[in-house]
Symmetry: C2
Subunit: 433 residues, 2 copies
């Protein structure tokens, strides 16, 4: 059993909780001083940093949401000038407006530290050759994992996404021991290996994988292992925190949330904390973030958190699998999609009614999204070409907005289901079994 | 005038040359001990490290070539075990076999150091927001420039290649001051800005750019400036060294080759050094490389080198523009293409004669490659579909091998020009004026 930072990772729980709360008070004080946005939030409920003497007081601070980042596009929440920032990542938002996140050098270091602890916790280190198939660039997955891989001394091969033939060639030709990528891409690799007659167990040295960016299940973990001999380890994070941050350890029973960097609350519908290990809404506070405040951030995920000591010896709490969403966001091929984005595209098309329906399916864990739309009676086309042109137009615009290919199906006027009250816009027939 | 490492960058020339030679002797000693390949090269001409007492002796060491890396695919030249390597980059080679390069942490640090000096030399630092449009991943451009950008404290936006609309949006919405990318992509950005009615001078803060990855000219520099107000600075490097390494300074009269990291010889056809500032073949020796030896490496470029002190105050020598190639390699859209690669694809096609011709043109500095091929008389197809299928097949395979789109033109048997003696396979009609 090795640790990246043993003393800190195995600190007695009470000591750890005390340290966490001191860091929380410190972050609140700093952000109250530097952030007009956060000061406003505190003042709106009549709080000053001195009032935050326990968790009950802390829970009086109003929660932040994705919309706060969006409304302050591009950099309205930043509390450091650009000359103190060393990086910016950008992720697609809900209305075509992206979310922009900034990093100081300390932010980058803390991010790498978090992932370095996680990589070490499932045995990735100097001896490993680490093929990183996460996308590099504005997306946080590639660079985040890359920096951490180098930090633990692994040999990182920055293959990025795509070019499956080359990925498989490198897996065979170099002594690759660990992959990183989305779980669905791992299955795609396994499929292509089967087609090529490449036996991953015999013709490569790959035995483990960091699997993140989209939902997956225990049965996927088992299937991947049975097919390939690769043990997959889960990952949680979001660009608003820093990026991917919390990984599963060897014990594979939850993702360790480093309590010196992050405080996660799990709340019920009334905003009260649920008992340890029970399910509720995930609310994230970053404790040492410098570039902008992320305090009581409702990311919209449903999960559990337990402080029960892990078999691996780490005392930091563990987050369970994400089991649902508190809002209507869906994750398709690792990309966050809001029905409102699709609604806005439909609104742009003068020939469509406002009715639509999204159907999600998957095959070999590859997601497929079908969007049913309805032509207006007065715009009914007279030939097939015209219909195809309409759907192509919608599809192209969806691709632009979502960065995702959707199948657009044109429907006759009045044929899509109407709802009384809240419309049901999404049917998710995907299975991760 | 600011420097990244003033003492070193402005060291008196004699002192610098002495240091350079000491580093050279040291590298030769290390690699002679660690590298069977390099020791063999030395022994083949009866040399030991102790014999290398001056440049004349040094020049007796046989040169390395790209084929040495290829022949030792994937890692036969590495002198460090994988647990001492932190990264691997892979670039496409001449026969479909890629070139694999490894890095220790010191290699990565020296690479970033080299680029950090260069970025500082044309004024990029803490105050800058640096949009890096080079490709991230296995290609060295993206990550190389990224690390250096963060090192000098600029705010790096890792946009990578493509998605021009988003690039332009971010240039406007964030206080971007400097771009990095291929010169042709800068012109593409300028074109799209024109179409969108975006005035780069008025609607962005961009005033400078690092332009690398493909050949360009003084007249392109002037045109880009006249159109956009962006001053472009040249760049030289290759993944075999580390990646992009040597940049132009504010004086824009050559790329500073850091003499503590690299020794560049310029040789005539007989392998003798040309006088300072005269044109010849570029031969590169890396002086502090750890992962594998790069000693007397004939990269195939033609250029000049001068030790004349630069107006900027730096004493390190300056490499001129690359004015040609010593071999038949061509660079198309920043990708190295060898006619032999195309020849091998043609050889795979049972319906083609061995005759072919490559024609290169460009429009707005975007390269276009047309490959003329010839059908065998016995394979003459009877309809247009069959011809199209043939050309599509060749085109798809070329794309696979070259990672580049080529237009394939099918020709009737016997209609391509035959050459007595050495065939002329390439017509380069591109202009960078």
């Amino acid at each position: 059993m090795t640790f990246w930072n043993e003393e800190l990772e195995t600190m007695p729980v009470e000591e750890l909780k005390e340290m966490q709360f001191r860091l929380l008070q410190n972050e609140i004080r700093t952000m109250y001083e530097k952030s007009e946005f956060f000061r406003g939030r505190m003042q709106s409920v009549g709080l000053t940093p001195d009032d935050i003497t326990d968790m009950e007081q802390f829970r009086k601070i109003p929660c932040m949401r994705k919309s706060d980042l969006r409304d302050n596009y591009p950099d309205g929440l930043f509390v450091r000038p650009y000359d103190e920032l060393v990086r910016i990542h950008v992720s697609s938002g809900t209305t075509g407006r992206p979310t922009v996140v900034g990093y100081t050098q300390t932010d980058i270091d803390n991010w790498s530290e978090s992932l370095a602890r996680g990589l070490t916790s499932f045995g990735v280190g100097k001896k490993d050759v680490f093929q990183n198939m996460h996308g590099y660039g504005l997306f946080t997955g590639g660079l985040g994992v890359h920096y951490a891989g180098e930090k633990v001394g692994a040999t990182v091969i920055p293959t990025g996404v795509g070019n499956t033939d080359r990925q498989i060639q490198l897996m065979q030709d170099l002594p690759v021991t660990c992959l990183a990528g989305t779980p669905s891409y791992m299955f795609h690799i396994a499929d292509v290996c089967d087609q090529k007659g490449v036996d991953i167990r015999k013709q490569t040295k790959v035995t483990k994988a960091l699997a993140g960016g989209e939902p997956w299940s225990e049965s996927m973990r088992k299937k991947l292992y049975d097919r390939t001999g690769i043990k997959a380890y889960g990952c949680y994070g979001a660009s608003e925190f820093y990026g991917p941050m919390f990984l599963e350890c060897d014990a594979q029973c939850g993702m360790h949330v480093w309590a010196d960097l992050t405080l996660i609350e799990i709340l019920d519908k009334d905003g009260n904390p649920v008992p340890d290990g029970e399910s509720g809404e995930v609310v994230v506070t970053m404790l040492q973030k410098e570039a902008f405040p992320l305090i009581r951030y409702k990311i919209g995920d449903i999960s559990t958190l337990t402080w029960e000591k892990c078999r691996c010896g780490r005392t930091h709490p563990r987050l369970g699998r994400i089991t649902g969403r508190a809002d209507d966001m869906i994750v398709v091929r690792g990309i966050n999609v809001f029905p409102s984005q699709i609604e806005s595209v439909i609104g742009e098309m003068p020939f469509l009614s406002p009715f639509y329906h999204i159907t999600l399916t998957n095959e070999n864990y590859m997601d497929k999204m079908v969007v049913d739309v309805e032509v207006l009676p007065e715009c009914l086309p007279d030939d097939v070409n015209a219909i195809n042109e309409m759907s192509a137009k919608v599809q192209a615009r969806l691709k632009e907005i979502l960065n995702l290919k959707a199948v657009v199906k044109m429907n006759l006027p009045g044929t899509l289901e109407r709802f009384e009250g809240k419309a049901k816009h999404v049917t998710d027939n995907r299975s991760w079994d």
